[in-house]
Each structure stands twice: as C-alpha cells, then as structure tokens.
C-alpha cells in the first residue's frame, strides 16, 4: 500500500480533532470513576440524553446545539446529583458498591437506551447549524468546522474544569475526596456532599458532550454503547485522575482510530480503542503518564 502524505496528514489532523471530542466525552468519567471511584458505565446514556436534548431544541426552536449544551448544564448537574443520592443510599452506604453498583448503572444504561428507542425510534437524528458542512483549507489539510467547533469548545471546557478543580475551594475539596476522604472528613467537610457535587459536574459535562456528538455524526439510541469502551480506555490510558493525561490519551486514540479508519476501513475503527484498553489493562494499568 502506498501511503500518500496528504492522506496521512489529513488522517492525523482529523484524528486530533476527533480526540478533542473524545476528551469532552471522557472528562466526566475521569471525575466520577477516576476521582470518586464510581464506575459509572451509564455515562454514554447521559451523553445520549444530551444529544436528544440538543436535537429537540434544534428541530423545534432552531437553537444552536452548543448553546443548548450550555443551557442544559444546570439541568444535567441536578440529574447527576440526584443519581448520586440514589447511588449513595442504595449502595455506597451499605458498602455494596462493587457488583450491585455496576449492575445498577448497567441497568440504567439499558433502560435509557430502550426508553429513547420507544420515544424517538431507531431512526438517525441530526441537527442543523451554520458550521455543519463548510470546512477550512490550510494547504493540503481540510479542517471541517463540524469537528473544529466541538474540538475548541471541548478543550475550553476541560481547561475551565481544570482551573475550577485546582483553584476553587470546592474544586480542591473534590481533589481531596479523591485522595483521602477520611482526612477530608476530619477537616469537618462532608465527603458525601462534595462527592455529590463532583458527580453532578461529571454528568453535567454530558450536556455539552452530547451536543458535540450530534454535531459530529447522526445519532440513534444504540450508538452510546460504542462509547463505553472508548471512554474507559481513554480514562485508564490517561492515568485515571489527571486531566492532562486524559487529553493526551484522547488525542492518541483519536489519531490511531482515524488512521485505522482511513487505511483499513471504518469498520475496524471500533476495535482500536478496545484493543488499546485491553492492552493497557494487561501491561500498564497505571496509564500512560501514571506512576508505578
């Protein structure tokens, strides 16, 4: 196979853009799974809810999907807090997080998917916005705006979150919970309340991530599943708790997937992330930038 340079360059660039979007999808799990140790495998379900929220406002009111994402942030935050409440009272308090908690989130994922099928059907849905369609051209390289907009907003969102976690009082309390929740309790702060806020944030990111997803590709209820492996692969590869590590891992997986899709065909792309995940778990469970 002759690899032409511009094809390769384009594959790498679109992989980078894709990776930026993957980072937005994963950031919530980095908070919930990495920092709070809650294996929320239902995250894709919330992302899909974000997609359909953007779809409904876009088709009914003609609202911009990214704008909808921002408007929905507080709604998703409250949903997240409610889910954590339920999770805490049903599992964490009884010390039964492991198998029952996983089964709970798995059930949630499934119920959300089936409900979406019942409400919206299995047709592909898409949104309309001025930046879907045109692309910028830099020499040989195409920059489709539908990828560039999610990429930029996503990195901005992660930057703001990173600032929030390292600078604000509650943000630092969230980091403290992830390191040692008993110590935080001794400082007279309630780990439960902090975790609730953190979980709320992790679900809130789905409002934006969902909007990005429906900008990038048409959406139907079962595509959420494809993201489970991808999300956790990126989270584990990035070292679980660090945002910079997660972004690097997301860009890496985006590039590898895009190159695979370009040169071997898109039907092989889903296996890339999962292959990466299995390999990472087997060889280097601490992630790329992790210690040990």
């Amino acid at each position: 196979m002759i690899v032409s340079l511009d094809l390769l360059m384009n594959a790498i660039v679109s992989g980078l853009l894709l990776g930026g979007f993957y980072a937005a999808v994963t950031v919530g799990v980095t908070v919930s799974f990495g920092m709070l140790d809650i294996a929320n495998i239902a995250q894709p379900a919330f992302i899909l809810l974000g997609c359909y929220a953007a779809y409904m406002t876009n088709s009914a009111l003609g609202l911009d999907p990214v704008l909808t994402g921002f408007i929905m942030l507080p709604v998703f935050f409250v949903i997240g807090m409610a889910v954590y409440r339920l999770y805490y009272f049903a599992f964490e308090r009884r010390g039964e997080q492991a198998i029952q908690g996983l089964a709970f989130f798995f059930g949630l994922l499934f119920v959300a998917e089936v409900s979406l099928v019942l409400v919206f059907g299995v047709d592909y849905r898409f949104v309309e916005a001025p930046y879907i369609g045109p692309s910028l051209h830099l020499g040989l390289i195409d920059l489709p705006l539908r990828m560039l907009v999610p990429f930029a907003v996503s990195l901005a969102m992660i930057g703001v979150l990173q600032l929030y976690l390292t600078r604000s009082f509650i943000g630092r309390a969230i980091l403290a919970v992830s390191q040692d929740s008993l110590a935080l309790q001794l400082m007279a702060a309630s780990p439960i309340r902090i975790k609730q806020i953190a979980f709320g944030i992790s679900i809130a990111t789905c409002a934006l991530a969902g909007a990005f997803l429906i900008i990038i590709q048409p959406v139907e209820p079962s595509i959420g599943r494809d993201y489970i492996g991808r999300i956790f692969a990126i989270c584990v590869l990035g070292g679980m708790t660090s945002f910079p590590g997660m972004v690097v891992a997301a860009l890496l997986i985006g590039i590898v997937e895009s190159i695979t899709a370009t040169f071997y065909g898109p039907s092989w792309a889903p296996a890339v992330a999962f292959g990466f995940l299995l390999l990472t778990l087997a060889v280097r469970p601490a992630g790329l930038l992790g210690r040990t």
Binding site: L118, G229, W268, A271, L278
Partner: protein
C-alpha cells in the same frame, strides 16, 4: 436438599419436561421453551463467575456469539452433529474466557467488568469483518431435513437445550458444595484475606472465567440452527448481557437455584410480553426490574425467602419444629 434428592429431582424434572413435550402439539411451545432454557444456561454460567466469585461479566453476548459462530464455521466445513459443535463452541469460548481473565483478573473487579464490555465489541468487530461467516450481512443456515431423533427439528433443539440446562445447573450446584466453591466464596467475600489464607486466587478466578465462558459458548452453539439466520447485530445483542446479569440478580446470586428462578421468571415474562405487548417494552421491564432489585433486594428472591424464614424461626423461639438449617 441432599445430594441424592437433588439428583433424583433433576432427573425427574428432566424426564417430565421431555415427556410433557411429547404431548404438546403446538410448535410455539418449543420455540418459547428453548429461549427460557437457554437463559437458564446463560444465567447459571454467569453466576459461576459473577455470583460465586463476585466478578461482573458484561460480555455474555460475546461468549454466546462465539459459540454460535464456531457452529457456523463447523457447519460450513463439516457435517458434525450439534452436540459436538456445542463442545467445540464451549472450547473456543472457554479459551477466550481464560485469555481475557489472564489479562485483566489481576486488577480490581471493576476493570474486569469494563474489559468484558470492551471485549464484546472487539469480538463483534472481528465477526463483522470476517466475510467467511457472513460478515455484517449475516448468514443463512439450512437445517438438515430430518431431525436426528424422532419429532421435529425444533423439538430436537429443545431437548438438547434441556439436557444442557440440567447439566449446567448440576455443575453449578456441585461447585457450590465443593472446595472450589469455598475458594470462590472466599474470593468474593475478601480477596486479600483469601490470598493471605493460601487460596490460589488467580488460578481459581481463571477456572471460574473459563468454565463460565465455556458454558455460555455451549449455549450459543445451537443458536444458528434455532434462528436459521445469524447476523452480528442480533447475536451480540446487549439483551443477552442484560438478561444474564438481571436473572441471577433477581433470583439470588449465592445459590444455584437463584439463576434458575430468575431465568424461568424473567424468561417467561419476556416471552409473554413479546407476544402480547412489544419486544422493546419487555426489555424495558427487564432493565427496570434489574434496577429495582439491586436497590431494594440485593440478594434477590432467594435472599428474600431466606430472611423471611429466618425471621419466622427467630420469632418462634420455643418452636415445635427444629429451626431451619440456615438459622442453626
């Protein structure tokens, strides 16, 4: 229940089901019964790993479909009878389970669970890209004209699955009462303490994964002959994974009877709901029941029955009868 009683009962149930089916004239009974029996095998297999050792497997569909596609390959290359194909499917799925477990079981349970989800997609991607077994288009399987035994072909499949269900329940029950089962339970309750106490945890976990995977593969092997048209989207359906988690959770995970109760109950409800309401809605029922049970009754129906019995024997202290065995 003592060993002798169990075996007698298992054989009686098996024979009664076989005889009763001779009297049934409606073919639909076999189609529905096959699915329920298949779920008994799947949920029992899931429970060997999930219930006894406490490691959640979300990749049931992958093991199941691997068994089915092994049968497809054998169907295209040879003319072996279905029971041999089931053994082959079991071997393939068992080996995959072993490899999978070897890669991830040294980590915490959550990672294993996520890896199984990921594995299901990897295996599906390979099948989708493998043209020989039909790829994403799927493949038609033509059943032999004549069933090897008397009766129609679906009756034959039903009988095979019935025997398979009895065998897998017997295996689960034997494990539960053996040293192996004790080791599994030690891992589930406190893996670190088990390791420190001299339980070879990794080896036991690998045995559980391989055995559980093999049984799922065996359950999948007759599937191509049951559906006669096999495609990746339906054979890797998430419904298999959800059901094989939900059934043991709802029935009760610590005992062999739990998955059987769960499978019979949920399997029958789903068959009825599919016919009378709609298939999307019956999946919703399964999901909601799963969530409801993990929150309200984490030990399932068996747990509910046990705690009621215990409460009753505790209330009647000077009981005329001796207390139940659990309380003793």
């Amino acid at each position: 229940m003592r060993n002798g009683t169990f075996w007698a009962l298992a054989i009686v149930v098996g024979i009664v089901l076989l005889v009763v089916t001779r009297l049934v004239t409606n073919e639909y009974f076999f189609f529905a019964g096959y699915v329920v029996l298949q779920y008994i095998v799947l949920s029992t297999a899931w429970n060997i790993l999930g219930g006894y050792t406490g490691y959640t497997n979300f990749g049931t569909a992958a093991f199941f479909a691997l068994g089915a596609y092994t049968a497809v390959v054998l169907h295209k290359t040879t003319t072996l009878p279905i029971p041999i194909m089931m053994v082959a499917g079991g071997v393939v799925s068992g080996i995959v389970g072993l490899g999978m477990g070897y890669l991830t079981l040294r980590l915490r349970g959550v990672f294993f669970a996520i890896a199984t989800l990921a594995m299901a997609i990897v295996v599906q991607t390979f099948i989708v890209n493998w043209d020989y077994v039909g790829g994403s288009r799927g493949i038609y399987i033509i059943r032999p004209q004549q069933a090897p035994l008397t009766g129609s072909y679906i009756e034959y499949l039903y009988s095979i699955m019935l025997i398979m269900a009895v065998i897998s329940v017997a295996i689960a029950r034997t494990i539960e009462r053996s040293r192996l089962g004790l080791g599994f339970a030690a891992i589930r309750d406190d893996e670190l303490a088990a390791e420190a106490g001299g339980v070879p945890t990794l080896r036991l976990k690998l045995i559980a994964t391989a055995l559980s995977g093999a049984l799922m593969g065996m359950a999948g092997a007759p599937l191509p002959y049951y559906v006669t048209y096999l495609d990746p989207a339906s054979s890797f359906n998430l419904a298999y994974a959800v059901n094989s988690v939900a059934m043991p959770v709802i029935g009760g995970m610590t005992s062999w009877i739990g998955p059987v109760i769960g499978a019979v109950l949920l399997g029958t409800i789903q068959q009825l709901a599919t016919v009378t309401i709609s298939s999307a809605l019956n999946l919703l029922i399964v999901g909601l029941l799963l969530i409801l049970f993990v929150i309200i009754a984490p030990n399932g129906i068996v747990g509910l029955v046990r705690s009621r019995r215990r409460a009753r024997s505790a209330a009647a202290v000077p009981a005329p009868q001796p207390a139940t065995r659990e309380a003793a």
